[in-house]
Symmetry: C2
Subunit: 245 residues, 2 copies
């Protein structure tokens, strides 16, 4: 059995990778990676899997998604916040309701989220996080007794607040179970504690919130900030995200 | 005269690059870059220039620094928090007192700070920030009416709290002059506001603080958190940091 590498104080690590551009700095093959893209990819993935989607196949490029035309899969492609022309839908959570996705497989490509999943492929395990499954996810992570790396998808490799705040929410729940924090997990937790009593108000001032507002998808943003409305944890098995049993 | 690029709301930008690894994402040639390495390179540079050093020449590699052997320059080299064997000193601020550096040129290489300076070379102007010259620096930046990019040197390309907190202190002073903030400058300012009433207490929990404590340089750390004890602003002219006139 592989021995888990502990911190010098004998604790497990919980670290936050603030953008995918920083992933090469982390020892991901020794960690359970949680991929986070709150507005909106990982929120929609959690919602879709909870709503009975058989699987969601994350692909990096629009062309890879298009290659599934002619199969019975649903094809979802988003770039720069908009549905790509010719696709069934993008990454609005309202497209991942039971009526649409139950019993179906969705092929999904997004600007940031699916990219972060692919960059994390060497991880011991990849699970998907969002406010929707926060507590279920944290309970699972604590039960695994393993190092945890929270990977924020950000916006085109830049830091963003919504993903960091969610990472901080996870750190906060794990911290009670005495993990060793790095500087970015300390910062994420402190920002979460500042924001938690009014997530919507706090995130209104962010760049991405403004960008999505311009796109007319404030309802999506508002919905993505609901906490603990699902319990499913999407996990990557091969090239498919499925419900963790 | 070159027109400064403004944000869509007509404001100047103040952005925070949380680690040098993210520099390629920023439009640095349109910005005044402030390089920040609080523990300890940029604190010591500010202190040395304020204490009468003629110039400080930042070099990336120990070998480049060694190449100045035989000149009348002082040679300073630090790696992993320690003075490199064979050099006059490293980056402890206590080595940059008037008795040692007044009227002298120092050639300096450090693990993070001088690296960040070199990566920023394409900037419109590079100035050096630390808590020592906080208010003088902010007054200068506001007077310039230009976009500002705060570059945190971090630790081996990872995010660190002390550089981010200082960036937040700058954002806080500039924010009053109505700059447009990005997500990382919002986060940095909020973390600074959390930390400002007890900088030493807040930073005790950081990874780098622990690392430096192991190296027995707590006195350096404590000293680097003194606010507004100098007014000199080191500016890069050619390959030399000199006092801005």
């Amino acid at each position: 059995m592989k021995v888990v590498k502990l911190s010098p104080t004998g604790k497990l690590y919980v670290e936050v990778c603030l953008t995918p551009a920083l992933l090469p700095l982390y020892n991901i093959n020794d960690s359970i990676v949680v991929v986070i893209d709150i507005f909106r990819a990982t929120s929609s993935i959690c919602y879709g899997i909870d709503n009975g989607a058989t699987a969601i196949i994350p692909v990096s490029e629009v062309e890879e998604c298009a290659a599934y035309h002619g199969t019975d899969h649903l094809l979802a492609a988003e770039r720069d916040g908009k549905v790509v022309e010719g696709f069934d839908f993008g990454n609005s959570p309202f497209s991942y309701v039971p009526e649409k996705v139950a019993g179906r497989t969705v092929v999904l490509t997004t600007t940031n989220g699916t990219h972060a999943i692919h960059l994390s492929k060497m991880a011991k395990q990849i699970v998907i996080g969002s406010f929707f499954n926060l507590t279920a996810l944290c309970d699972y992570l604590i039960s695994k007794k393993h190092n945890v790396l929270l990977v924020c998808a950000g916006w085109k490799n830049k830091f963003n607040l919504e993903d960091t705040i969610f990472a901080g929410a996870v750190v906060h729940q794990l911290n009670g179970a005495s993990y060793k924090l790095d500087d970015s997990s300390i910062a994420a937790e402190d920002l979460y504690l500042l924001a938690k009593d009014d997530l919507r108000g706090y995130l209104k001032k962010t760049s991405h919130g403004e960008r999505l507002k311009l796109l007319g998808i404030e309802a999506d943003i508002d919905f993505c900030l609901n906490v603990d409305i699902t319990t499913a944890i999407p996990v990557l098995e091969g090239d498919r995200l499925v419900k963790l049993i």
